[in-house]
Amino acid sequence: MKFAVIVFPGSNCDLDMYHAVTDAVGEQAEYVWHTETDLDRFDGILLPGGFSYGDYLRAGAIARFSPVMESVKQAAAEGKPVLGVCNGFQILLESGLLPGAMRRNEDLHFICRTVPLQVKKADTMFTSAYEAGETLQIPVAHGEGNYYCSETQLEELKQNDQIVFTYGAALNGSVADIAGIVNEAGNVLGMMPHPERAVEALTGSEDGRRLFESIVRQWREKHAVTS
């Protein structure tokens, strides 16, 4: 399976994302600069964390207009897996691929530590290797991860079963402790915690590895690749 790791000016988790899908999970990946417009050769799209365009105006607001984003939207429409982590999640929100918006953390602190993360939904292409209700240890590193959506939107998220991850304990003020959501079609996941930083026991936790393994497993089943 071949992944595109999209690199914006100011991305800083692109290397970790690349490392996770290549060294940890054993698949192929390529860095794709944000000015590229052709993503046809890729099977999955990864939007890494960082501070694209210095978070100017609002986090993710400028990156959304990068040339590559039209192709990301197209890949999403084609049903390819699209994963946005941290700033990648913020970009998915700003571009309208996922509902809601991010505010500054409730206590205004930049929160950088490993937190308990609960798997609410294990029947997605990103979480099939987890058990629903399982608690993972995954690092967060964000100043603007306070997820907001209106009550109506929250009802919709619940009804469509789009809430994938919640914080094990209140963390940043997010509505319903939401840490990650999928789109209605189930192939676009945005999450604030960093699974790509938790793929080896050496660095504290390997609970994030199964997220990437889930994506690969789903792709292999769909394309009947046995090797």
Binding site: G100, E106, N146, Y148
Partner: protein, 85 residues
């Protein structure tokens, strides 16, 4: 025509503004207990060339597309013609 446009981007009602809350608390600590709330907004100043009949619609478009995030923010703006001297 040349216009100076001032755009105010504010939080939608009901959206908690963590910075505003922190500043409210600081003002209380300074003894200004009369302050009920503080809301921190963004102000953007644009200078642009536009035909008189389209300046408002153009700025509205800019606000909707980029300057404000309609999920959490409201906007309003004031248009002033720049008179060349």
């Amino acid at each position: 025509m040349t216009y100076d446009v001032t755009v105010y981007v504010t939080w939608k009602e009901g959206v908690l503004d963590p910075q505003g809350t922190a500043v409210t608390e600081s003002l209380h600590k300074l003894g200004y207990g009369e302050v009920e709330s503080v809301s921190i907004s963004r102000m953007l100043q644009l200078r642009l060339e536009a035909a008189p009949e389209e300046v408002e619609s153009k700025v509205t478009e800019m606000c909707e597309k980029l300057l404000a995030n309609p999920v959490i923010e409201d906007y309003r703006f004031e248009v002033e013609e720049v008179v060349s001297t």
